[in-house]
Amino acid sequence: MNQPEHRVFHSMGIPIHITLVGCSATEADHAAQKAEAIFNEYDLRFSRFKNESELMSLNNSNGVWHKVSLPLFQVLKKCVALSADTMGIFDASVGGILASYGYGLPKKFIRKTPFPTYRDLAFNDRELLVRLAPGQILEPACIVKGMSIDAAGQALSEVRGFMINAGGDILTHGSFNNGSAWNIAIQDPRDLRAIVTTIGIKNAGIATSGIYQTGGEHDGEKWHHLINMQTGKPANRTMSATVIAPTCEQADIEASLAILLPFEQTVARLEQRKLPYFLIYNDGHIAKNAAFSALEVPFDKIATDTV
């Protein structure tokens, strides 16, 4: 059994760690390069912060019809479908609110009231044209991050086993070691150096969404990036939500929604989709389903040095 290969690079503003098993160092280098190229491509297309990104030019289109690429068009359509599904609680128009907090503020930005929503978007499916409301700023990161990890995973499919960890969202493929699952720990939102539990997964994506890492203060009010767009206020009942799904895209979306949606709705949604979940509320209470418990790895199995 040869050693797992580790490669780390930065893209999309986050550290990305890839672990590969069953391949040589040269193959690992090659795989990491391919993955990095894919992340950079997604970053260049969908970044709300990069001046040269396609999203940036759409966000600066200021109320006129704008031609976009097929990938961006599809992402925006997905966002709108998700907004309709959640009665506007999720809305990619959140970009404007985040920008008004100073989190990626474009030049000459004026916050509009009432705030433009997904209903203000207009699409021309044949010509791939999109029209935003004046002052509307889109941030589809919630969907795009998971997509980029899945795309990188596709490119690495010839590697026997790998794990892509993009800033805490993880895709696993194959097995880690002689058929054993990848053991993924879940970070403690109250102490970032600690974990609360560990699960073993193969060929699955896992995403944790939380209000404890991205955020700050604006005019004396705490804010973070997960905002209930029905109210325009940051969601604040769930500290951390972890969801496991066949793809990182789905895991990432559902984890974000688990923070945004009311408790009953979150649980109903996840149960309906039969996804394992693990939620930590602000008072420290946890909610998890049997599907999640079945994946949990006993503590003594992770503390030993024999695999």
Binding site: Q3, Q187, R190, D191, G284, A303, D305
Partner: protein, 192 residues
């Protein structure tokens, strides 16, 4: 003055007794706690691997704050490997319902924990200071060498087991020249 002298002796005795008693209690509590974990583990999996902590040294880190009070982590080091981490004692948290943090962190992961990744809300940098790291540091300054550690590993009084005699697989760090293997309980299958 003989009276004040004996009073001092008394004070000293009382203090040292209290200190010893505290240590014993702390060890006792952490043992009990660990048994709990193992029992849970037994329910979850039919064949749990027991941790052999015989001859291991235990180091306690500085306390850190939780919503329910201060918690302290400790690690057990044996042959330069972290063999056990005690769950922190959180004074006022009701058991089981609350997500209790296991203080296994990046420092331990790079040591010997069988964890391949940590899922968390998007982070932009890796935090690296904790009660546990403090415990690791103490272990190092007291003559233990943690293999595959945090990059600050220093070779100290206790010899490192040369790689060819080890059956584990850490390949980074401790590339120091070979020492003689003083350890008697290494279950190595090499024919030496």
């Amino acid at each position: 003055m003989p009276t004040s002298f004996s009073k001092n002796i008394q004070k000293f005795l009382v203090l040292s007794f209290t200190a010893v008693a505290l240590v014993v209690i702390v060890i006792g509590v952490s043992r009990t706690k660990k048994t709990d974990v193992t029992t849970d583990a037994n329910n979850a999996s039919p064949t749990p691997t027991p941790i052999d902590t015989t001859g291991a040294k235990t180091f306690t880190g500085t306390s850190y704050q939780t919503p329910w009070g201060n918690a302290v982590a400790s690690i057990s080091v044996k042959n330069g490997k972290v063999v056990a981490v005690t769950m922190p004692q959180v004074p006022n948290s009701p058991p089981s319902i609350f997500a209790e943090p296991y203080l296994v962190d990046q420092a331990l992961r790079t040591g010997s924990a069988n964890i391949q990744g940590v899922s968390g809300a998007t982070f932009t940098s890796m935090a690296f200071k904790s009660s546990l790291e403090n415990a690791l540091l103490q272990a190092q300054t007291q003559g233990e060498t943690i293999t595959g550690g945090t990059g600050t590993t220093t070779s100290t009084a206790k010899p490192v087991v040369p790689r060819k005699y080890r059956d584990d697989d850490d390949e980074d760090e401790d590339s120091d020249d070979d020492f003689f293997d003083f350890d008697d309980d290494e279950d190595d299958d090499s024919s030496l």
